[in-house]
Subunit: 317 residues, 2 copies
C-alpha cells in the first residue's frame, strides 16, 4: 500500500464516526484501533486520484464510509461466527457482548449510507446498497452450504462476491464516480474490484491449504475442517474418483475431523493439481483486473492499482 496518506484516512475514520451515544465511539475506536491495512479506502483514493490528479476531502469521507461498511460486516461476522479474536485482540462481541456488537454494526451501516447521502449521489448509493445486499446474501449462502459437497461454482462466486469482492468493487466504483461521470469507467473500475476480490479470496483458500502457519496467522486446513468447499477442492471436485470423493465427503460431514484425515484430504486435492489450478485461476483474475484498467489514464496511481493486483497473487503463493 504505497503513495497513500494512511494517517489522514485514520483521522477521517475517527472524525466521521460521530455518534451521539458515547458507547459507540468507545467501541468504534476499539475496533478502529485494532488496525487493518485500509485496502478499501486505498481503492477509493487511488481511483479518484488516478482520474482527477489529486484527492478531495469528500474522497476521504466516502473512503471512511466504505471502511465503516467493512467494519460493520466484521462486527456482524464475529457475532455470526462466535469469534473470540480478531487481529490478535479479543473481538468486540467478547468484550462488549453480542447485543451491543449487533447494534454498533447497525449504526456503522447507517452512518455509511448517511455519509453517502451527504457527500455522494444516488448512483453511488444504488451501487453500495446493492453490495451490502450481496454481502448478506453471500454470508447466508456460506452458512447454508456448510458440509454440502454439492456446492457449485455459482454458489462459490456468490459467497466470494459477498465476502470480499462486491465491497472491493464498490470502493473502485465510488472512487471513479467521485472524479468522473463516465459510466464505462465506473463499470470497469467495479469489475477490477470484483476481479481482485475473487483473486484475493482464491489466494486465501490456497493459503489455508498450504500457507505457512506463522504467516497466515492461524492453523491450516480450517476451511475443510469447518465443512467449507473452497477453490482448490472445487476446481477438481468433478474429476475425483469414487473412493477419493467418498473420503472427502466424509471429512466434510465430520464435525470434528482428526488432523490425519484433513492431511489426507489435502494430499488428495494436491494430487489432482487442485492447488496448482487454483493458483492459475487466481492469476487469470488478476490479468482480467488489469485489463479492466485499460481505459484509465496511464499514471502513477494506475500503476499502483496494477501492482496491487499483482501483489494479491504474490502473497506467498
Amino acid at each position: 500500500m504505497v503513495n497513500f496518506d494512511k494517517e489522514k484516512v485514520e483521522k477521517t475514520l475517527r472524525e466521521y464516526l460521530d455518534p451521539s451515544v458515547n458507547l459507540i465511539l468507545q467501541i468504534g475506536n476499539y475496533i478502529l484501533d485494532g488496525g487493518g491495512k485500509r485496502v478499501r479506502p486505498y481503492l477509493v483514493l487511488k481511483f479518484s486520484k488516478a482520474l482527477r490528479g489529486y484527492n478531495e476531502e469528500k474522497d476521504y469521507i466516502l473512503s471512511a464510509a466504505l471502511e465503516y461498511l467493512h467494519t460493520a460486516s466484521l462486527l456482524h461476522d464475529d457475532v455470526v461466527d462466535g469469534s473470540e479474536k480478531r487481529r490478535g485482540k479479543p473481538t468486540v462481541n467478547r468484550v462488549f457482548g453480542n447485543d451491543t456488537t449487533v447494534l454498533v454494526g447497525d449504526y456503522m451501516y447507517a452512518n455509511a449510507l448517511y455519509l453517502f447521502s451527504i457527500y455522494g449521489d444516488i448512483d453511488m448509493i444504488k451501487n453500495v446498497s446493492d453490495s451490502v445486499k450481496k454481502m448478506a446474501e453471500g454470508q447466508l449462502l456460506e452458512l447454508k452450504k456448510i458440509a454440502d459437497f454439492e456446492t457449485s461454482f455459482d454458489d462459490y462466486y456468490k459467497i466470494v462476491l459477498g465476502k470480499t469482492a462486491v465491497l472491493f468493487g464498490s470502493c473502485c466504483y465510488v472512487g471513479t464516480a467521485l472524479a468522473s461521470s463516465d459510466q464505462n469507467l465506473k463499470d470497469m473500475a467495479y469489475n477490477y474490484g470484483l476481479n481482485i476480490g475473487i483473486a484475493f479470496q482464491i489466494v486465501d483458500d490456497i493459503l489455508d491449504y498450504e500457507g505457512k502457519e506463522e504467516k497466515v496467522g492461524k492453523s491450516l486446513m480450517n476451511d475443510l475442517k469447518e465443512g467449507k468447499i473452497t477453490y482448490p477442492l472445487l476446481v477438481i471436485k468433478e474429476e475425483l474418483k469414487d473412493e477419493d470423493k467418498s473420503f472427502i465427503k466424509s471429512v466434510i460431514l465430520d464435525k470434528n475431523p482428526p488432523m490425519e484425515n484433513l492431511l489426507k484430504a489435502k494430499k488428495i486435492v494436491e494430487d489432482y493439481q487442485g492447488v496448482e489450478k487454483a493458483k492459475e485461476h487466481a492469476r487469470d483474475y488478476v490479468r482480467k483486473a488489469i485489463e479492466n484498467l485499460k481505459d484509465f489514464p496511464d499514471n502513477k496511481d494506475k500503476e499502483d492499482l496494477i501492482n496491487l493486483a499483482y501483489y494479491i497473487v504474490k502473497r506467498d503463493i
Copy 2:
C-alpha cells in the same frame, strides 16, 4: 387503520423482498406472515395521498422499504434481547439461529436503502439513514441505562426516538416527499411522526403499569422488572421522598425483584400521580402531532391521520 389497501401493501412487501438466496425469502415470508398492523406503510400512504389525492406504485414500494427497515430492527432486537416469541410465534432467531437472523436483518436494511436509491431520492435517503442511525443509538442507550436510576428525560427521549419515533417520522417524511417538494410540509410531517411515536411509547409505558394483562398480551411491570425507568416513574422521579426513592432504586437494581416489590413500586408511582401525569403528557404529544398537520389540505386522509393520533392515546388508557 381505515381506508387503506392493506392487501396491496402485503403483496408489495412480498414482491420487493427479491433475494437471490432462497433462505432470505423463506425467513422474510416467515416474519411477514407473522402479521402486523403495517402502521409504517399506512403513514407513508396516507401522507402521499393526503397531498396528491391518490397513491402511485412507488408509494407502495417505499412503504414496503420502510416496513423492511422496521422488520430488520425487529430481527436484530430479537437477537439483542434473546427473545423467544413475537406475536405468538417463535422468533426467527429461535427457529433459524442468531447468525441467520443477523444476516437477514442486514439484507433487509440494505434492500430498503437500495429501493430508496431507485424509487426515492437523496433527500429521503438522508432522512431515512439518519433515522436508522438513531434507532441503533437509542437501543444502545437503552441497554446502557438498564438499572440506572439517573436516567434523564434527555436519555428517555433518545431511547424512545430510536425505539419508535424516528421511523414513524421518516415514514411521514417520505410520504410527504413523494407528493411534494415543500420542505416545511416535509418537516411538519416528520414532527407529526415523532410526536405520535413519543405518545405511543408513553402509552406503552403506562400500559405496563396498569394495562389489562389479557389485552396487553404480556405480564405487567415488565419494564421495572428489567430495570428500565419509563415515563410514569421518570415524570415523578425528582419529587420522590428519600425512603420512596431508596425503595425504587433497590427494585431497579434487583435482577429478579419479587412481584410484591414490583407492586409496591407501582403503588408509589401511582401515589405521586406518575401514571396520571404520563397520560396528560401523552395527550400533549397527540395535540402537538395534530397541530403539525395544520398546513396540510383538509381531506379524508388528513382526517384519518388525526384519528390515528387520537387512537394512540385511547388504547385503554
